[in-house]
Symmetry: C2
């Protein structure tokens, strides 16, 4: 990291103003800026931290889920993903979600980083994982609300899907491109 004189904000007070446990909490904070100003209604939105998994098969195709998601409100191409359960490490969540949602398993895993979903409000931290040599070992059994189809796409097909608007989620696009860029 370079040297910098930039300073963080200081949280003076934080009050929970909405909650729907265990999914959502909204807090209203009073914060002090480095220049001395005080802001008395800056909100933070606490959602579950989650994982996004880019699982590559031995022939370098990626395990993709076609499904409806309610955030974008349409059917699109997604990646295996899900919230981190209490007591789970992010890697354990990634391995569990890949197996449950797709029936795939992999031995070689790498974390490509953690990134906050919304730069102002938070909205959860996404842990992005790359898994190599993924292979189908079981039938999917996610228990999720969404029905899905499993596809295997190569890097060219993924780039085309992003360009054509078939990948509606910012996190999925970030994870897919991080992996293509790392390969």
């Amino acid at each position: 990291m370079r040297e910098t004189a930039l300073k963080p904000w200081t949280v003076l007070t934080s009050e929970s103003v909405f909650q729907s446990p265990p999914w959502i909490q909204v807090s209203r904070q009073t914060v002090r800026l480095p220049d001395g100003r005080t802001i008395d209604d800056y909100h933070q939105i606490t959602l579950a931290d989650y994982v996004i998994v880019v699982a590559q098969t031995v022939d370098h195709r990626v395990v993709i889920e076609r499904m409806y998601k309610h955030g974008p409100g349409r059917v699109g191409l997604m990646l295996p993903a899900g919230g981190i359960n209490p007591g789970e490490s992010p890697l354990q969540t990634a391995q569990r979600e890949l197996l449950e949602e797709t029936g795939y398993s992999a031995d070689e895993w790498r974390c490509l980083g953690q990134f906050v979903c919304h730069a102002n409000y938070g909205c959860g931290l996404a842990h992005i994982f790359l898994a190599h040599d993924a292979r189908r070992v079981a039938d999917p059994d996610s228990g999720d609300l969404e029905e899905m189809e499993i596809l295997l796409l190569d890097p060219r097909e993924i780039r085309t899907a992003i360009r054509n608007g078939e990948m509606p989620s910012l996190g999925v696009v970030a994870a897919a491109l991080l992996t293509l860029d790392a390969s």
Copy 2:
């Protein structure tokens, strides 16, 4: 788009359960899934739609902002970004935010897509823009809460920053990699 039998959810009712105008609204929805099940507490979080700008100079460096952001709670490398004001097109917002935050202007603009911030809850739509041949035409004057430093990074430096955890925002990483992938 490929043919698919996957169906969207149907929103049966939607009730506002928290709002902090004009920034945040949380709705509790009753939704019907394609298999007939009904879920009576699926939430949607409405935040402002926003733009993220990747502005490249004539020598292919990107205009980067080093600043504290309260979502990640730390100083990191960001891109020019901001909420779309009423009556503004996303392109107008992108051009305004680039100029206000960095003092840069550009003539050639391209939209690289729209992506929802959170796949389950929504949390706003990010419009990602690429601007070519950006040049400094004014002093920055953002009026934002955050102080910032303006940097120019080349593609190699951006990849290193992402790998080193210096870019804490999912949207910024998605936008930066979309651009590197498109160049």
